[in-house]
Amino acid sequence: MAEIEVPSEVTGTVWKIEVAVGDTVKAEDTIMILESMKMEIPVEAPAAGKITKILVSEKDGVEEDQVVAIIES
């Protein structure tokens, strides 16, 4: 079991969270959608696993490299 951090690649605002804690995801599944400079930018799962933590809420601001969720794989 490894805990994998899911970072945001860009600075933006959380527009929509697409998963819930306990969901199983595949690599490259969309975890959440950020709005940055009016672009919809997906945050994708770096690996397959189970979502154990979601560290932000919709409308929150996030920074580049900020960890927004944790996956257990």
Partner: protein, 360 residues
Amino acid sequence: MKAAVLREQNKPMEIEDVEISKPGPREVLVRPVAMGVCHSDLHFLNGSYPYMLPTILGHESAGIVEAVGRDVTYVKKGDHVITCLSAFCGHCDKCLTGHMSLCSSPEVSRKAEEEPRISQGGQPVHQFLNLSSFAELMLIHEHALVKIREDMPMDRAALIGCSTTTGVGAVFHTAGVEPGTKVAVIGCGGVGLAAINGAAIAGAGQIIAVDMVDSKLELAKIMGATHTINAGKVDAVGEVIELTQGGCDYTFEAIGLKATAEQAFKMLGRGGVATVIGMIPIGTNIELHGVELLAEKKIQGSNMGSNRFRVDMPRFVDFYLNGKLHLDEVISKRIKLSDINDAMEALKTGQDARHVIMMD
């Protein structure tokens, strides 16, 4: 309606039927007549910039208003418009200090809980940059368009919707090029050519165009370049320093690469400013030689030409119609929506200046 839907990065787009919603109170339904195929569409197609899929690309368009929402008074059915991705909210700090292109307010999009503007079988199709031009209809916020003169040809108006505004705006607004100064532009695609044309309008004394394709350098001369350099044959930085006898007052990078952004900085003379217009892929850092900063050299980014597009675009239309802005030469091919994938392939080779889709 029909649209070119992108389902997977680096895969061809397919012409599919999608549903478009009804205009909300502040929304406008536009029937695009002409749409440019822009290099930044390619960045999203190949994934160097991530975007939600499926989506409909296209963000450089001109068309005719088809219907307006309840609260829209700025335009009416039949008006000719250019669309712009710099939709502004009109009341944030950035908007109120005249920097509308930096507005990041999400209110020009529909909220996550609202019905999406575009969908297919009940599933959302993500609107690209609040526009999604490669379609028969566009449903956009009223602050994502500007009214224009009806004697302006639509295909050339479309170019003003992105490449012209990005290039000319970088020269006029981001950099503020002064008459008589020395300018170099790296990259002679649609945006670079527009920057060269903008520098000529601004009265720059020396305008050096840099590219690796001779046909583009020929176009650069038509735009107003006083000198051209084929960077595939000579050391562009050394050549620019020599031609300007010590470096430029202003340089513009219109490709979006680490190497060329760094070259733009190296081409500066004392006190010069490099403006990076190109979209450098996410995750790429650029390096500068620190000591150069002692000579007060500067580097800055430019997004959509720091535009105030409701003011700028009608002026650019006038520039075209009175012969100062050269758009006829920029359009290399007029195509149909169904030819979109070929146009994207052509962009990858970098040979052609610009393909414009014409709707029937």
